[in-house]
Amino acid sequence: MAGAHREERAAAVARIAVLGAEGPGDVTRLPSGSPLGDSGSSESGTFLALGRLGAKVEILPAGNVDDCLRLSREPSLDLILLDCCPREVVEAFFSARPGQGAPVVVIIPADASESAALDAFRHGASDCVRVGGEYVEVLALVAMEQIQRWRGLREKEAARDKIEWLERLNQAIVTEIPVSLLVLDGHRRVVEWNPEFQRTFDCGPGEARGAEIRDVLPAPLIADGQLMELVPALGEPLPKRPRLARFTDAEGKDLVFDVRSQRLDAEGHLLLTLSNVTKTELMSRRLGELERFNEHVVQSINSALVVIDLEGRISYANPTAGQILKISEADLAGRPIGEFLSSTDKMPAVVEMALEKGVHSRGREMVLSLADGAAVPIGISCTPLLGDHDEIQGAVAIFQDLSEIKELQRQVLQQEKMASIGQLAAGIAHEINNPVGFIHANLAQMSEYLDDLGLYLDSVDELKRVVSAEASEEGARALRSLDDLARKIDLDYLRGDFGSALRESLEGSERIRHIVSDLRDFSHRGGVKKSSADINQCVDSTANIVWTMMKHSVELEKNYAELPELRCHPMQIKQVLMNLLVNAYQAIEENVEDGSATRGVIEITTRERDAGIEIAIRDTGAGIAESNLPRIFDPFYTTKEVGAGTGLGLSTSYGIVKQHGGEMTVSSELGQGACFRVWLPHDLDEASEPT
């Protein structure tokens, strides 16, 4: 406070205004013991006296009465000395001097009349000193006394002001503060309370006096906050921590109070403060909920959430948005949404509709164009963000990456397609099986018949040649008509083409037979009980069957490990092996046909692996291009020329192995041959088999 500062300064330095003094000067420099005249000027004596007050004296010389009056109005002035001033000057000073102010000491010249001192007191001087024998000592004592008295007065006055001010402040606080205050005496009875308490706890003026705390505060509030612990008996320690206490008021509103107590004095007076923190508490709870919501929902949902301002710029993006857009969410802030959601950098329609018309869009599909050129299919919903007065402040867009869903949809469609193809195939195979069987068998027989007929016709030709020379006229005519008929039906061509037609038909029916056989295997699997089988024997018998077909171009290497029996469908496993061996053979044939090799090797290895049996079939054939590898187990996928294969062999084999709970893998490089591995697990759980 400025006042306090001034007082400190005044205490440190005594400021004394002197009228009638000769001029300003540092009293401390006056030589002590300077000779003093008995009369005339007292000035050197005055300075000596002031010098005895101590080092910290500031002399303020006044040139005239007005000057002195001006100085006397300074609040920090400690003393005014009227030093041997003429009578009229003294009178002029006192008549114009303000009522209150620093004490005035009048120094009367040695030769002044007796009444001069009386006059001075009458005018209002605090003391008088006559110049004379012990004048210096007397003046020093008088000045000191006056200064101390004046300072004491001033301090008392300042203290009184301060107390008054504090009382007013206290009153204002107690009355206006929105906190319920309760003062309890040593017996824990209410002695004081404030209007807020009256309002909050519905208590009439005067009602509370002398009451116990149980009488003025609601019981649920006391119980909830265990408030009795806050007002312990005299001498018991006071809990330091404030309490939160809740109760429901008469109107059904839930209220929360922060309650604290404080000891006021040794008599045991306690101040109990009850602050209504209901709103704060609600807000902080709501804030907590919002923070948790933000953390648990917005931050962690698998959907991107983006807040867009009115200019179409991103103002917030959650981590998923960053992942989908492949930019950190922090870097997304401020970027126009059009950069991502449309190829033309224009604001996408869903966002535009939300921002401009407040329209809500749901589940729209669109394609994101990312900086790296990738196109990501997304499903997007956009909602306008409304302010307190329903004005549009922006928009919230939520979108999901649909790539996986699209892929799954594609796969489901593919599986459904395959399943219906399978059913169709089964039906066709069933119907075609028998007719193809006998057509094929008959065609084979017919070509044998044709061979026989050919032999017969050769004999006829021979007969014609022998008899034509000596034929009778009738015989010659018959021979001619035979020749005519032969020409007419183009017998030579017919004989040649009959064979071709049959051979081609046989080839055709052979192809149908294979297709039907593949289709049947593809569509009908399982449903049969397994039996124990020696896998080495399965491999060997299958290899022997195909051996005759391939022996001219293939060397077979067999590495069989000793194996335990395996429960499986041996016929199906043989079918898989047959398929793999035929494929291996065809791969080698490819090399033979294009001249890159004359022979090849097929290596068959069996071994135990991972609680099952592995059969590896490795060939030195043409190999498989890397780009074809992922698709070779797909149904109907074939690299053979149209008609040469149905594309069902490997997928059928794969299906059989999968149905056994096993695995089939392939490793190959174009030109480096291929290795197919079939792993079949030991069947530990026969109970789970389909019956």
Binding site: A429, H430, N433, N434, P435, V436, G437, F438, I439, H440, A441, N442, A444, Q445, R513, V516, S517, R520, H524, R525, G526, G527, V528, K529, S531, H569, P570, M571, Q572
Partner: protein
């Protein structure tokens, strides 16, 4: 001369099989149903029975099971397009000598039959 009995409910199959095997030097008997086949078995010495599986009234395995009781010395062979519906343990129990898939391969079929009908 060995007696070979062929059983199939499809006349086209019977006729084609007879044609295929005609020159093998066996006496070929034909039955259009399992009951007809059992009649023939009861009245003739049959060295080998080649039976279809899926037939009305009785399946091929059931027929061959019956044949194994009535005429144990008859070699039993199943020719079928639907092998997957057949219990292989059951085949072993009945004592089915071989399975031929339909449509058949002429050479394969002849090779199998020749094994038993020397």
């Amino acid at each position: 001369m060995a007696n070979l009995l062929i059983v199939d409910d499809d006349a086209g199959i019977l006729s084609a099989l007879r044609r295929t095997l005609r020159r093998e030097g066996w006496n070929i008997l034909l039955a259009g149903s399992p009951s007809e086949a059992l009649e023939i078995i009861d009245q003739n010495r049959v060295d080998l029975i080649l039976s279809d599986h899926k037939m009305p009234g009785m399946t091929g395995t059931e027929l061959l099971g019956e044949v194994s009781r009535r005429s144990p010395e008859t070699v039993r062979i199943l020719i079928t397009g639907w092998s997957e519906a057949i219990d292989e343990d059951e085949l072993a129990r009945i004592g089915v000598g071989a399975m031929v898939s339909k449509p058949w391969d002429d050479a394969e079929l002849k090779a199998v039959l020749r094994q038993y009908l020397a």
